[in-house]
C-alpha cells in the first residue's frame, strides 16, 4: 500500500437526488424465469422502521456465476442478469423490495479449503446517520445443509446466525435488518 484510502462519509438525507434509478431494484429483468421478490424492513435501534435508506445487493446467479468480467468461475450466462440491485427510498415505511433470482452455491477461495459457500447475497446499507456503509449477507432458511457448511457463517456465533436467514414468503423471501436490540443483525467487516 502506497496511498491511504479516501475516508467514507454519510450519504446524508438527500441521496435520492443522485442515486436511485428506475430499474435499480431489478437484479434481473422482470419476467426472468425463476424471478422472485426479496423484501423486508430495516429497523433502527429503537425498533422503528428507517424511512430513508439506500440498500444495494450483489450476488451470483443460480449457477453460482457473477455478472462480472473478472472471469473467476466464468461470467453468468443468464440473459440480462445484473446481480446488482439498488433500492433507495427517502420517506418510506422502512421496507425494501428487490427482484432477483435465488443464487446458487458459490465456490470459495483456496484459503477456505475450497469449501462451497451456501447461496448468499451481499448487502450494503447506507443512510443518514451512517458514516460508513453497513455490510451484511442474506442466507436462505431453506438451505440448512449448505448453511451448516458455509465458511463465512461458521465465523458467526451460533446464536446470531438466524439474523442472516431469509424466510420463504409469498413465493419469495423476507429478510429484515435490525440495527440494534436483542435480534440485531450480524454485520461484517469486509
Amino acid at each position: 500500500m502506497i496511498f491511504d484510502t479516501t475516508p467514507s462519509q454519510t450519504v446524508g438525507p438527500y441521496f435520492a437526488i443522485g442515486l436511485p434509478f428506475e430499474l435499480g431494484p431489478f437484479a434481473v429483468p422482470e419476467g426472468t424465469p425463476g424471478a422472485i421478490h426479496i423484501s423486508g424492513t430495516i429497523y433502527d435501534g429503537a425498533g422503528v422502521p428507517i424511512p430513508d435508506f439506500l440498500l444495494e445487493t450483489w450476488q451470483a446467479d443460480p449457477e453460482g456465476k457473477f455478472a462480472d468480467m473478472h472471469g473467476y468461475g466464468g461470467a453468468s450466462e443468464l440473459g440480462g442478469f445484473r446481480g446488482f440491485a439498488r433500492y433507495g427510498v427517502e420517506d418510506g415505511d422502512g421496507t425494501f423490495d428487490i427482484v432477483t433470482v435465488k443464487p446458487g452455491p458459490v465456490a470459495a477461495p483456496p484459503i477456505l479449503a475450497g469449501a462451497v459457500q451456501a447461496p448468499h447475497i451481499d448487502i450494503s446499507v447506507f443512510a443518514r446517520g451512517m458514516l460508513h456503509r453497513c455490510v451484511t449477507r442474506i442466507y436462505f432458511a431453506d438451505e440448512a445443509e449448505a448453511n451448516a457448511a458455509d465458511p463465512a457463517l461458521a465465523r458467526v456465533p451460533v446464536e446470531r446466525r438466524a439474523t442472516l436467514l431469509a424466510e420463504p414468503h409469498n413465493g419469495g423471501y423476507r429478510f429484515d435488518i435490525r440495527f440494534q436490540g436483542p435480534h440485531e443483525t450480524v454485520f461484517f467487516a469486509v
Binding site: 427517502e90 443518514r128 446517520g129 440485531e184
Partner: protein, 255 residues
C-alpha cells in the same frame, strides 16, 4: 480491451482487461481509516449503528467481484450539471475533476462515479430540504460519469453553498459534493463527500470531523487548480480518490 454489451437491466461496459487488472483480495484497512459508526457528536448515528462488533468476513469471490455498470445509463452530457435545463444555473461555475486510484496508485478505469449536491444557495432540490434559501429552476444537482483510461472523471457544475442543519444549535454543513463510487469490486464500494479548501465551517462540522485523523480529513478536501480553469468560463477544483487496493497476500486472514 474489449467491448461487451448486455441487455437490460444490466449494461456491462468492459473497457479494461479483467484478469490482469483485478486483484484476488483487497487490503484490510487500518482502524481509523473511516469514521466510526457510533459517533455521538453526529446525533443521527445513535440509533443507526450496530452495537455488536462486526464479524470478520473472509473475502470470497462475492466480495472481489462487483457490478461493472454503465448503469444508470450514462449519457455523454451527464457530467455537466449546468446544461440540464433551459437556462444557466446561478452561481460560480466550476470544473471538478480528478482521478480514481487504488492504494497502489493504479488508476481505476471504467468505474462509475455519481455525484449529488446542493445549489449555489445551499439548497437541495429535495422535498425534505425546506430551509428558506432559493431553489434554482435551472439546477437539479445530480451527475454521473465513467472514468476514462487514466481513471479520470470530470464534472462541470456550480459551487454548492453551505447550509444549516438540525444536529445542534447553529449547525452548518461546509460546502460539499456527495460522491458515490462503485469501484471494481464489492469490497471497493465507497460513498463520501468532497469539500472545498479553506472552508470556515470545518472546525464545527461533526460529519467532517467524524474522520478522526487530520491527514485523513485532508484527503476529503479538493484543491484549487489554476491549470484546469477555463479562461473566461469556469474555476476548477481537483480531487483524487483512493479506493482499497490489493491485499498483501491473496485471501489474507486476520491474525
Amino acid at each position: 480491451m474489449t467491448e461487451e454489451r448486455r441487455t437490460e437491466p444490466g449494461e456491462v461496459r468492459q473497457i479494461y482487461d479483467p484478469v490482469a487488472e483485478t486483484p484476488t483480495s483487497y487490503l484490510r484497512e487500518p482502524e481509523g481509516a473511516h469514521p466510526p459508526l457510533d459517533y455521538p457528536p453526529y446525533k443521527s448515528t445513535s440509533l443507526r449503528h450496530p452495537k455488536q462488533p462486526l464479524v470478520y468476513l473472509p473475502q470470497t469471490i462475492t466480495e472481489i467481484t462487483g457490478p461493472q455498470l454503465g448503469t444508470p445509463q450514462v449519457g455523454e452530457t451527464d457530467n455537466d450539471l449546468t446544461i440540464q435545463h433551459g437556462g444557466e444555473p446561478i452561481g460560480e461555475r466550476i470544473i471538478v475533476s480528478g482521478r480514481v486510484f487504488d492504494t497502489e496508485g493504479k488508476p481505476l478505469r471504467g468505474t462509475l462515479v455519481e455525484i449529488w449536491q446542493a445549489n449555489s444557495a445551499g439548497r437541495y432540490k429535495h422535498r425534505w430540504d425546506r430551509w428558506p434559501a432559493p431553489l434554482d429552476p435551472n439546477f437539479s444537482g445530480a451527475g454521473r460519469c465513467i472514468t476514462d483510461n487514466e481513471g479520470r472523471y470530470q464534472f462541470t457544475t456550480i459551487k454548492p453553498g453551505p447550509y444549516p442543519w438540525g444536529n445542534h444549535y447553529n449547525a452548518w454543513r461546509p460546502a460539499h459534493i456527495h460522491f458515490s463510487l462503485l469501484g471494481r469490486a464489492f469490497a471497493q464500494r465507497l460513498v463520501t463527500q468532497m469539500y472545498f479548501p479553506g472552508d470556515p465551517f470545518f472546525p464545527y462540522d461533526p460529519i467532517f470531523n467524524s474522520v478522526r485523523d487530520a491527514p485523513a480529513r485532508e484527503r476529503m478536501i479538493s484543491s484549487f487548480s489554476i491549470h484546469r480553469t477555463v479562461p473566461k468560463w469556469a474555476q476548477a477544483f481537483e480531487w483524487d480518490i483512493y479506493l482499497r487496493g490489493p491485499g498483501a497476500t491473496p485471501f489474507e486472514e486476520a491474525h
